[in-house]
Symmetry: C2
Subunit: 405 residues, 2 copies
């Protein structure tokens, strides 16, 4: 492999939404080819194609077979790879497209959310040696019985990272419609900073807490295989953000990002006996019902009486309330409260691991601006606060100003 200078690039749906954009992507790839690179490209489905296919299926079935949905959705990326290969040919660059099946992107049989088990690199390498750009359909693979599988949300990013790992390249470029990872959502904070670097763990926390630029799964994969992700825009040539191992970062910020989420609701079961197994019973039941819990706080009062608060997606609230109410009756709690008009504002940064007093600075900044904190949870590299929804923007601004301006 050592004789080839391989780079893996992934272009998202917005980067290949139209024939014109596909031509622009081809020109960009050509510049890498001219620079001596052997380029492996992973593409998503064009623009809103996947949504269109989902709508088409919904005209037939409200609950289609996952195997057949994968069969259907995989066509989206197959269209893109053919189109991009044609566009490269037009620029005079050799190129060949492959489906997941053709490059033996093998996965388990978990349709709609499959895990990659192995990738064969022979055909990719032999095509690269023939001076062809290799274009791979993202998001898709095949299981051991040749059934087409898809990788779930963020699947094309995961395909690209897996290819970079299999081909032992140091960096995987992720082209998208934003030009990097910012310290905050520009719709809320006027001048957020673009981060030159961010660690895998920070990126994972950002993604989990509301940032949409990368799906957590692809970041986990990149961390596992030590592949650097260069998140950048397909519309300009600026350097984006490199997601990388914390140890190798040039500069570490105390806080590298502020996120907000408004899609969760808070529930509290009040005054239940504080004895072992209660939290386990509650979260077991929620898990069985496929309700994922974000924040959890248990507070113990006097006489062995406790309250448990948690946040779930608003779309899961009704079901979660039923489960909590059942448990309250069983255990003899007094009441189940809930609140929908909340927001979760979080500060994330590896600097918290070493720097003391970060939490105190967050709480003081919020208090100074009259923002009441309803619930707090912390991790090694993050602090999340539940506030009234009306304070979401103010709380984000205050924390961003405290650490990042």
């Amino acid at each position: 492999m050592s004789d080839l200078k391989i780079i893996v690039q992934k272009y998202g749906g917005s980067s290949v939404a139209t024939a014109e954009r596909i031509k622009a992507v081809a020109e960009r790839i050509k510049s890498y080819v001219n620079g001596g690179y052997s380029v492996v490209v992973v593409v998503s489905a064009m623009g809103k194609t996947t949504d269109g296919l989902i709508k088409l299926a919904s005209e037939i079935s409200a609950n289609p077979s996952k195997r057949e949905m994968d069969m259907l959705l995989a066509t989206g990326e197959q269209v893109s790879i053919a189109m991009l290969a044609m566009a490269l040919h037009e620029t005079g660059v050799g190129a060949i497209s492959f489906t997941g099946s053709q490059i033996r992107m093998l996965t388990d049989g978990n349709h709609s959310n499959a895990r990659i088990t192995s990738i064969a690199t022979e055909r990719i390498l032999s095509s690269l040696r023939e001076n062809k750009v290799v274009i791979v359909a993202g998001f898709q693979g095949v299981d051991a019985d040749e059934n087409i599988t898809t990788l779930g949300r963020g699947g094309s990013d995961t395909s690209a990272v897996a290819l970079a790992a299999a081909l032992k390249t140091r960096t995987c470029e992720i082209y998208t419609d934003v030009d990097g990872v910012y310290t905050a959502d520009p719709r809320v904070i006027q001048n957020p900073r673009k981060l030159p670097e961010i660690s895998y763990d920070e990126m994972l926390e950002l993604a989990r807490l509301g940032a949409k630029v990368l799906h957590p799964r692809s970041v986990e994969f990149a961390k596992k295989y030590n592949v650097r992700l260069h998140v950048r825009s397909s519309l300009n040539n600026e350097e984006g953000t490199i997601v990388m191992p914390m140890e190798e970062m040039m500069e570490k910020f105390v806080i590298s990002g502020v996120t907000h989420k408004a899609d969760e609701a808070k529930l509290t079961i009040r005054n239940i006996p504080d004895r072992p197994g209660i939290a386990a019973a509650l979260f077991g039941k929620l898990g069985e019902n496929r309700i994922s819990v974000n924040m959890i706080v248990q507070s113990t009062g006097h006489d062995g009486i406790a309250s448990i608060s948690l946040t779930v997606l608003k779309s899961d609230l009704k079901k979660a309330l039923e489960i909590c109410e059942d448990l309250r009756e069983e255990l003899g709690g007094t009441k189940v409260d809930y609140k929908e008009d909340i927001a979760i504002v979080s500060a994330i940064g590896v600097g918290m691991m070493s720097g003391y007093g970060v939490a105190a600075r967050v709480f003081k900044a919020l208090a100074d601006h009259g923002v009441n904190i309803d619930m707090i949870s912390t991790s090694e590299i993050g602090i999340s606060c539940v506030v009234d929804a009306k304070y979401m923007e103010l709380a984000s601004k205050v924390i961003h100003a405290e650490f990042l301006e």
Copy 2:
């Protein structure tokens, strides 16, 4: 295999053009399943999908790579098979979809016009034994290197016939938007008769001479493997037309069909020396330029001077004229004539093989109605006449009335 009562059905693009039509197809298949059949279904791309994909490619390239076109076009059928599987599941019928690759529909590497070399039946049979309807993407296969190939025009019919042959079923049902093969085009002849049976050779002649219901290639394939084709409508339950070996037909008509074509032009090279090799030189040159010749007539005059007339598609006329002109100069002919406003009206029937005087009856009928014949060619089972375009309809009616009313 003998324990399964297998039937192969093929549904064309118009039969699966919308979600509603796909549901109707699923209901039809269900009735066969309830009747104890193991059903193998081949489907085309939904409605005008293929045209849409061709247009999409044209936005990138005027002359796209055939391999990449096959990659692109194969997605059309893949969408259909997933949709039909979902629709069958909704009716409570087990079903599983397969791409050409998944059932090992192996072809040569001739992209856009590949030939089937073999089909593996193991996976199909094991799915049928699990009481599943097997849905196969028509029109597509893979070559020995796993490249996706397509079978060219009439490809889905060919896929279905190949499956019927591989599974050793006697009949292959071809569902389309007409309910059988008629003695003439109903747009020209008011009350054409639907033929209950027709021989492979007649069907081939009809297809070659303008009937669009089946592509000649699938008929040739069916003849070769002795598979009966039942051409019928997906919109009703009427029996259609069975294309079958001539020897097994119950009733043979003298003439089974009248066709017309208006897309050809006639050329004549006048007064060239009548010596061996001239026709070969002309048709060799035309072939090299991928111009296919339909009718050919050579007439010899006195003193070893001959004229050659031929018909070609109007779209090939310009190029054919150049070739004829070059040859005329080389050989010393006097002139190259051409005529565009012509039509070819043909009568086809196996009855001609045994019945005398059919040609004479055709000529007399036309003469009685004042239709002048410009050029005549005959085969074992057909007579074709070139007439002025303005007589196309009249000539068709006259011949149809003479033999079929």
